[in-house]
């Protein structure tokens, strides 16, 4: 964390709610310029399922070549948040999103942006394995490329599949994740990738996350605070507001968040007083 630069991240003044307290200073090892150029910038993101607001006015920077962890108690909107980052939120019936999510300066919720193309650039690993049962292992690994008609030459495909499998061999039981490496995304979202794994497999996945973070931006949702502390460069903490909408209460360098939390709720949460 020596390279950490103190950075004051404030939402644009135009969208600030006047009743809200002044924007909190958020220190983070990611500069906004970096996130703009090569990562993701999330501004005032709110999401609804029907009339229920799941998250409210979330601001977050996703730095390139870093692991960003999102932690918080159950039901605080962590999964909803990352599903918004590759436009998977809108797959659910009656789901709605407001705010901006910039991927390398482009608003993925902008007019005329095709969600399909966004999802190719922002990959996602789900909580539960989803191997396609009608396909061979090879086809499962190659599914991302095959189904998108990105590759036709079988020999080339075989190389990519082999490479994917070599990486994935680390992942052991997590068979679904086999098909992730093949699409070469820019950002990888992971929704509690280790929640169904034993500690040994979890450690292997954490190693892999560190390896992958050399080339990708990774956002991981986790229930496991130790895991966030082990793998993440930056940590965001979400909490449920009184109307059950999730809000971001803290975002910063992982070491700061865990050793010197600014928000009382974060402190209560990480010290295990609730959640």
């Amino acid at each position: 964390m020596a390279m950490m630069t103190d950075f004051q991240f404030k939402p644009p003044a135009t969208v600030l709610d006047e009743r809200a307290e002044p924007a909190r200073d958020i220190t983070c090892p990611v500069s906004e310029a970096e996130a703009w150029e090569e990562g993701m910038v999330i501004r005032n993101l709110s999401a609804w399922y029907g009339s229920f607001q799941a998250i409210r006015d979330v601001n977050l920077l996703v730095g390139p070549k870093r692991v960003t962890a999102v932690i918080g108690p159950s039901g605080c909107g962590k999964s909803t948040l990352i599903r918004c980052l590759n436009r998977m939120h809108e797959v659910a019936p009656k789901a709605r999103v407001a705010g901006q999510v910039y991927l390398r300066t482009e608003d993925i919720y902008g007019r005329g942006v095709d969600p399909v193309l966004v999802r190719r650039r922002v990959g996602m690993v789900f909580q539960k394995p989803n191997p396609f049962p009608t396909m061979s292992v090879f086809d499962n690994v190659a599914a991302g490329l095959r189904l998108n008609s990105l590759f036709s030459r079988r020999s080339h495909l075989a190389d990519i599949v082999e490479q994917g499998l070599r990486r994935a061999a680390l992942w052991d039981e997590v068979k679904d994740k086999l098909n992730r490496p093949a699409t070469e995304p820019e950002v990888i979202l992971m929704d509690e990738p280790c929640s169904a794994l034993d500690p040994v497999a979890t450690l292997k996945i954490e190693d892999l996350m560190r390896d992958l973070s050399a080339s990708y931006a990774i956002v991981i949702v986790t229930h496991n605070m130790q895991q966030a502390a082990r793998v993440a460069d930056c940590t965001a903490v979400m909490m449920m507001a009184e109307d059950r909408a999730g809000e971001m209460v803290e975002f910063g360098a992982t070491s700061d968040v865990f050793t010197n939390p600014r928000d009382k709720r974060t402190e209560d949460y990480i010290t295990g007083r609730f959640g």
Binding site: N86, M88, V91, P93, V116, L117, V118, R119, R120, R121, G123, M124, F126, K128, N130, F132, P133, T134, M135, A143, G144, R146, L147, N148, D176, N179, R180, T183
Partner: protein, 280 residues
């Protein structure tokens, strides 16, 4: 609780359970009776000629119903070629694309169409196809049977597609795969067994339909595989014609034809059961 009340409750319980059991056996019994009766009456008249010969003129002995078997295969084949793809298409639309209200409307329409008496389908196709083309034909019969298959196929394929877990769709969508490609390469293959079963049941239903064929296929004493322009024979029509005829020889052939038809439908149902119950 008094001993008398207790005894009465036990007695009521026994009687009610007994009534239910009787009803169940009655239902199975009727089916067994029909199958057994067809079997006993039909099987002795099944021989090689029955499958290979054409019908003999009334009153003569011997002959077979090869033209009716071929005609049934042809008309049901035409119906399947039209009804199954459109039925699956409608099922995909309702399960994957339509909003809840539109899906409800289509589902209701399909249910109403399932309930339309088949003779009504027959007379409508008669005026649409037979009168327009000027001939009874295999094509007209195929259209009528396809209309009967369509709602069955649409409803069953919708149910089967809904059984595919949402996580499978999400996994594909999250890889940046388009909706249609997800449906075509992930959802439909995952549901393929159910879709085939639905198709088989629709075919079994169509194979036994008689009423719409009266207006559309008409029946034919001679060999024909002509799709349009000529009346065509079919097993149910042959059963109807022979069964109501005056000659004993014809009655025997009607029983044999009924036996063949029941066997085919039974085998199709059995096959669909086996397909559905096999995992993987």
């Amino acid at each position: 609780m008094s001993a008398i009340t207790h005894a009465r409750r036990k007695w009521t319980n026994t009687v009610m359970l007994g009534l239910c059991t009787t009803s169940a056996f009655l239902a199975i019994g009727v089916l067994a009776l029909i199958l057994g009766f067809v079997l006993i009456n039909g099987i002795s008249y099944i021989n090689f000629d029955f499958f290979t010969q054409l019908p003999k003129p009334a009153g003569e002995s011997g002959g077979g119903v090869s033209n009716a078997i071929a005609g049934s295969l042809l008309t049901v084949g035409i119906a399947a070629a039209m009804g199954i793809p459109f039925g699956i298409g409608a099922g995909v639309f309702v399960a994957e694309m339509a909003g809840p209200r539109l899906a409800g409307v289509i589902r209701f329409t399909a249910d109403v169409l399932t309930g339309v008496p088949s003779i009504v389908v027959g007379i409508v196709v008669y005026s649409w196809v037979v009168l327009k083309m000027g001939h009874f034909s295999a094509l007209a019969a195929g259209v009528a049977l396809a209309i009967i298959m369509l709602p069955i196929m649409a409803r069953s394929s919708e149910e089967m597609l809904k059984l595919v877990p949402q996580s499978q769709r999400e996994a594909a969508l999250a890889l940046g795969v388009t909706r249609w490609r997800t449906i075509l390469s992930i959802v439909i293959p995952a549901a393929r067994r159910g879709l085939i079963t639905g198709g088989l049941l629709a075919v079994a239903r169509a194979a036994g339909e008689t009423a719409p064929l009266l207006f559309t296929a008409l029946g034919n004493q001679f060999w024909s595989l002509s799709i349009a322009g000529k009346p065509i024979d079919a097993l149910p029509l042959r059963i109807y014609q022979y069964g109501t005829g005056p000659y004993n020889q014809q009655h025997q052939q009607a029983w044999a034809a009924a036996f063949v038809l029941v066997t085919v439908v039974f085998c199709i149902s059995l096959l669909s059961r086996v397909l559905l119950s096999r995992r993987g």
